[in-house]
Symmetry: C2
Subunit: 283 residues, 2 copies
Amino acid sequence: MKMFLDCLPCSLRQALEAGRMATDRPELQEKILEDSLKILSGYKNYRCSPDMARDIHLAVKEITGISDPYESIKKRDIQSAKNVYPILVRFLQEKGNSLYWALKIAATGNIIDSAVYHSDRDIEECLEKELQKEFNICDIGILEEKLKTAKNLLVIADNAGETVFDRILAEHFKHLDITYAVRSGPIINDATVQDALASGLGDCTRVISTGCSTPGVILEETSREFMEVFNSADIVFSKGQGNFEAISDPGRPLFYLLKAKCTVIAREFGVALNEYIFKYIGI
Amino acid sequence: MKMFLDCLPCSLRQALEAGRMATDRPELQEKILEDSLKILSGYKNYRCSPDMARDIHLAVKEITGISDPYESIKKRDIQSAKNVYPILVRFLQEKGNSLYWALKIAATGNIIDSAVYHSDRDIEECLEKELQKEFNICDIGILEEKLKTAKNLLVIADNAGETVFDRILAEHFKHLDITYAVRSGPIINDATVQDALASGLGDCTRVISTGCSTPGVILEETSREFMEVFNSADIVFSKGQGNFEAISDPGRPLFYLLKAKCTVIAREFGVALNEYIFKYIGI
């Protein structure tokens, strides 16, 4: 997806947030904002918003010397998600272990996103309400058709914490060989190999790095290992807004699984803000 | 009030909003964002956020050739406020025409602010709820003391539409000689002489221009006429966030009357977001 002008103020807000998470020193926070403004000025040089976000968060790391400003946030989110994991299992049982609700749980995990929800919300509090919301777009029929013959599944992951919700989906697809692909290094609150393993995904999937650390996978920058899995997988799920923004031309069919948390993404899918989407894209 | 880093992403968002209000041409909207980024880069050169906002909105005007992008929004807001005027009169009667609720109505008018509330909200819908909310800070005792001897009152106005709510306050102070001071020219949705007159303030106050067009009055830039009224008034009300941000050192006692609509302002007053404030500042 190309970048929209709306991404500029939002990126600047995220830069400030990351700066504050990484340092208490006002002069460093100022420097982060000043460098971010320079990066934003060159917005036309970036392929997509996650591409620009990488440079902004690189500046945060260089200026503060903190390699992972969101480390504690990610740990907290993973722990919070683990705490509600039994609720998720029970919820899916109550829904008859249906494919629809397994997908919906994985999409709901997308609410754990410190890059957008920056208040100290209690995840449990809004979880029940969010779980019950149905998809606005749901191409489940196409998935069911593919599942008749599919042997393997690739999930391109999104945030830490959301990873625990993805376990529900992975456990639902016991008969499939599942690869779970995450960022190659820490960026915002996106999941890394370490985060995926801490979320228990090592037990039910093969966790790999995409080889790319933008907060949204840019296919041209991924590793050969990842591209082999990507090209050969029977089914691919791309999770979250960042991956949707970054994958401009997948070159193969895939399913986007996300919550539309900003007006730009909602407009792209033709849905209202905060709606859930499970959208199939053919070749 | 000095500028905070939080003001930068918010100012950029407002620039985009103003650009879209002024033109449908994407290349002009891009130019507005690019010029705004340059202005933001020099944020340390500005005395306060309204000072910087003036340059951003000047860029919008120059790039688009539209001298008042918010003209239709202001007309709509004034009309909406006029539509609810009878509700306000009835509300105050039900509250025994008390000073507290006359002040509260004027503060509530501050919800009509296209610079912050940019959705197509229905003013009537949230009005009743907002009117009933009490002040978090309310220095009414000091005002009552001053009213025993006061002969005149200066109101430094804020937004168009809010102006109609201020009529309630002006009509409550029938025994006072009231001056109502507005921006010298169109800026965002702030009230000008024309807007004040369209709101019916010519019948109950003397409407003047401050001589300054920043969205928040910078005293050093006001006219001699305004400063004479400012210095000699028995009581001064400064309405809205912009005036609070811009008046760093009033040099005389005044009352701030506003809703804290952003986290920075809320923090300055030590209240929660969206609380109402009637705060006295002595010399």
